[in-house]
Amino acid sequence: MSVEFDQKVHDTLADANLQLAIYTSTGRLKRGRVASVSGEAMPDYQELRDQAHAIKKHAIDNLDYYLEEFERNVTARGGKVIYCKDATAVADFVLGLAKERGVRLIVKSKSMTTEEVDLNERLEHHGLESVETDLGEYILQLAHEKPYHIVLPALHKTRYDVADIFTRELHVPRETVIEKQTALACGVLRDKFLAADIGISGANFLVADSGSIVIIENEGNARLTTTAPKIHIVLAGIEKVIPRARDLATFLKLLARSATGQLLSAYTSVLSGARRPGEIDGPDEFYVVLLDNGRTRLLPDKGKRQTLYCIRCGACLNACPVYRKIGGYSFPWVYSGPIGAILTPQFMGVSHEPALPFASSLCGACGEVCPVKIDIPKVLLDLRSDVKKAEAREGQGRMERLAFRAFAWLMTHPRAYEMACRMAALMAPSGDGSWLKSVPPLMNLPPVRAWLSQRDLPPPPAKSFRELWRHRR
């Protein structure tokens, strides 16, 4: 994948408008987060992070127990829990239900999990209309694109891009005023809400002790999606379960702040099953589809499975100097940024995208902002080791492996190290490397060429530190 990854990185870096869009949007979210969790705004921020980490750890350590409790409580409230192992199983379930009930139109609220299983594409393939109702997701659906960012899916689109998309896809006069674009989308979507028979949502949390699902949003479209149609289907990863309703107090304080800098998102919905006799609204049928799709692969590894603690706030993307340069589409899957870099190789297997864990300077900004304290840099390091072990097994990457073996030998033999370094210094490229053009083999060493492609190298000193030290007395 390296060639494809490098090409996408190159294209993103070369696109000045895109660079500005990514930098501005992530910068705004980043500053919002910093202000909302500052010592003054939130004195107990660090304690809350510890708490959130402990709750998630406990839930994942006892995942089977809490999933069963959740299922029991959903069932007791008249809902139904379905376990799906992959994308096909999810699509089969939704298609089967739609066929049984004679449903043609589905409305959807924002959900990374549905993106993960390409749900819209799979449903459309079978002749169903599935409409995204989150504004950003709706724009992307019209543009036939995937989310660029976990929280701001259309972060890379300017209002002029949106005007072009609406004109092309909805056949309306070109409109570049954001408020008017929003009103236009609302008009189209309102009709869809009223006509749809199934609403599909994700879930931010599954609460085991109450059998509730919790959805956090800003537009109100998730409320309509989950209450207007007769059938509500929730799709959520199995890792979304938390033990108790009271744990929400911890997560709600952290999630919106980490994501956007809001103290609380505009809407927090706690939904517990279908409409019961005497209730005035809500769906007639309520299904919770619990998705594995690679998640259980992580469970045997007690270190790396902290990846499953993620609450999808996107803070690590906004803080990441790599994401802020290469954007969302450079990443091979729907999950981008630091969390994508540790999640994708674990869900799909390290050999699938071996370069991904290495595309980080290990600066640690991601781990610093993670509200549930996932040690992302540590997981990246573990994955790097996994990749190299896989390469060794498959007989790949021999040159690099030999180089590091030589490195380890030299660094454990001080005299040889000193001699080798002196020899290298005598031949090493200096400054912009121009004099070295007379020694092409050295200049052509890939690491030397790569370094010099971007920056100069300091001229090697006449004497190393150890030589200076020996002669100083």
């Binding site: 073996r405 380890a408 660094m411 971007q454 920056r455 100069d456």
Partner: protein, 241 residues
């Protein structure tokens, strides 16, 4: 004081930036320490560790532990190499209880240079003079894994005739990242160019940091862009009079 300290100068300083090591020694001697340089020292093993080669990293780490076994205070001119020793050696020897015990004891003896000055030597004013406008670049590992933020600023604050101007994104990575800098050269280059924009905005004539690796990256990009700003390790500034 007359106390002994051992220098671990790091392979990068040994081979490419010897002046950083000499400056560190002279600051420590000026404070009354007897400075030693264990000659068998090489590297902390971080390049192998960060590249996914744990066995190779473990070999180098073991060599480090042996080389510095007899020294009570080990001072390092790098936040990153200090982090490797005090945070990651333990991971390497997870399955060797005896070595792990040695690592736990080693962790208490290894000091990042600026922290050693403020916390062990207990000084802020080392008698330096440096008549320039400087800006400070926080190395990521020192800042986030060791929590070093105040120490270098307190030390710089007491240097005569020095004006410190913080940059907008002082805590943002310079894009070095070890082998990352050559494996993802174009991306690394884009990151350091953002960094030098922030540096140039301050109007400083010198960029100071605790890590020669960041400085090599920043200096290389400044030179390529033709900007007359120089880079110095904190030790070099503190050794100036």
């Amino acid at each position: 004081m007359g106390d002994r300290v051992a220098l671990f100068v790091t392979c990068l300083v040994d081979q490419l930036f010897p002046k950083v090591g000499m400056s560190m020694a002279s600051v420590l001697e000026r404070l009354g320490y007897t400075v030693e340089f264990p000659e068998d020292q090489t590297c902390c093993g971080q390049p192998a560790y960060n590249s996914g080669y744990r066995d190779e990293a473990r070999r180098v780490a073991r060599h480090f532990i042996r080389t510095f076994a007899g020294y009570d205070r080990i001072v390092v001119p790098s936040g990153s190499c200090t982090t490797m020793i005090v945070h990651h050696f333990a991971e390497l020897f997870r399955k060797e209880p005896e070595t792990l015990r040695q690592v736990a004891e080693l962790e208490k003896r290894v000091w990042e240079f600026s922290t050693f000055l403020t916390e062990v030597a207990g000084v802020e004013d080392v008698g330096a003079r440096f008549p320039e406008v400087v800006t400070f670049h926080d190395g990521c590992h020192g800042l986030r894994e060791l929590g070093v933020r105040a120490a270098p600023r307190r030390l710089l604050g007491r240097v005569r005739d020095l004006e410190l101007r913080e940059m907008q994104t002082g805590d943002e990575c310079c894009g070095f990242g070890g082998t990352f800098a050559v494996k993802f050269a174009e991306l690394s280059g884009a990151m350091v160019r953002s960094k030098i924009d922030a540096i140039l905005e301050t109007g400083a004539t010198t960029v100071v940091s605790l890590d020669a690796s960041c400085l090599m990256q920043i200096q290389g990009a400044l030179a390529r862009a033709g900007k007359p700003v120089r880079t110095l390790h904190l030790a070099e500034v503190l050794a100036s009079r």
